[in-house]
């Protein structure tokens, strides 16, 4: 358990450094949903190349680390209906709110942005309530 917390802290520092590099280097906020969403709906055509390169880094880096850090497991549910509903909610919700855990959470809170803090409070409360409902009451997840 404790080693998980230390790895969490180390990984977190890397995530924050990634955000710092993108902000100080390119003047961009590192928001995963915004970077993906802008590519998907075509609203970020002029930045398409740098966004694709960013996502390539996110996708490939874990593969390079697997030989050293062990085989990962997402332990995700195999219930396809739950995965589909969750994916739809995450996709629509993050684009309507214009941010997710990285954009509103990491980049917003660190700048003491009221938007980032309010968004984070709402998605954590909604996530916690969803776990109570679907795990402890309905027993689906």
């Amino acid at each position: 358990m404790q080693i998980d917390w230390i790895m969490g802290l180390i990984g977190g520092l890397l995530i924050g450094s990634a955000g710092a590099v993108l902000l100080l280097g390119n003047g961009k906020i590192m928001g995963a949903s915004g970077i993906i969403g802008g590519l998907v709906d075509g609203s970020a055509r002029s930045e398409a190349r740098e966004r694709l390169v960013f996502l390539a880094g996110v996708l490939v880096m874990p593969l390079l680390l697997i030989p050293f850090a062990g085989t990962p497991d997402t332990n995700a549910t195999s219930n396809l209906a739950v995965l589909a509903a969750a994916g739809l909610l995450v996709g629509t919700g993050t684009r309507i709110a214009n941010g997710c855990t990285s954009g509103h959470g990491v980049c917003g809170i660190s700048r003491l942005s009221l938007r980032g803090i309010v968004a984070t409070v709402f998605y954590i409360l909604a996530g916690g309530l969803t776990i109570v409902l679907f795990r402890h009451i309905f027993g689906v997840i």
Partner: protein
């Protein structure tokens, strides 16, 4: 220059998401599950990530980005219906599957069918979002 910076940032982000354990859905759902076996890992990840970012925001003062342009300014209005409703929907999906957009991409190569299904529907949701946003604004006129 911009591409090198983007790649470096993406690589750091991917490494951080993977090493922190945030691609493991049980850690995310465990953190949200305050009435079950609570797992505090996510708080360490968030805290660790906010530290360097807070320093970075301080460094933006009186400077310009390395590759030119300007730093982003906070969005206005600060709190609106979109922010609250969107974040609530996102939180529901986050709790259901234990995945958010960053880890969904970082785990795509090893997450198997569940990861692919989640990512496909997430992208579908992102395509639906502009229409839903317009509906949301029409439903109750902006004050």
């Amino acid at each position: 220059m911009r591409l090198v910076i983007s790649l470096l940032s993406g690589a750091l982000f991917g490494a951080g998401l993977y090493l922190s354990g945030m691609t493991d859905t049980t850690k995310v759902q465990g953190w949200l599950d305050v009435f079950g076996q609570w797992d505090p890992t996510l708080a360490f990840v968030m805290g660790g990530a906010i530290l360097p970012m807070a320093v970075a925001w301080q460094l933006t003062r009186g400077r310009r980005p390395l590759s030119g342009g300007t730093f982003p300014t906070p969005a206005r209005p600060e709190i609106d219906r979109r922010l609250v409703i969107g974040s609530t929907l996102f939180g529901m999906g986050w709790g259901l599957a234990g995945l958010c957009p960053g880890p969904a991409i970082a785990s795509l190569t090893f997450g198997g069918l569940p990861g692919l299904v989640f990512a496909a529907f997430m992208i579908g949701g992102m395509l639906l979002a502009p229409g839903l946003k317009a509906r949301l604004d029409r439903a109750v006129p902006a004050e």
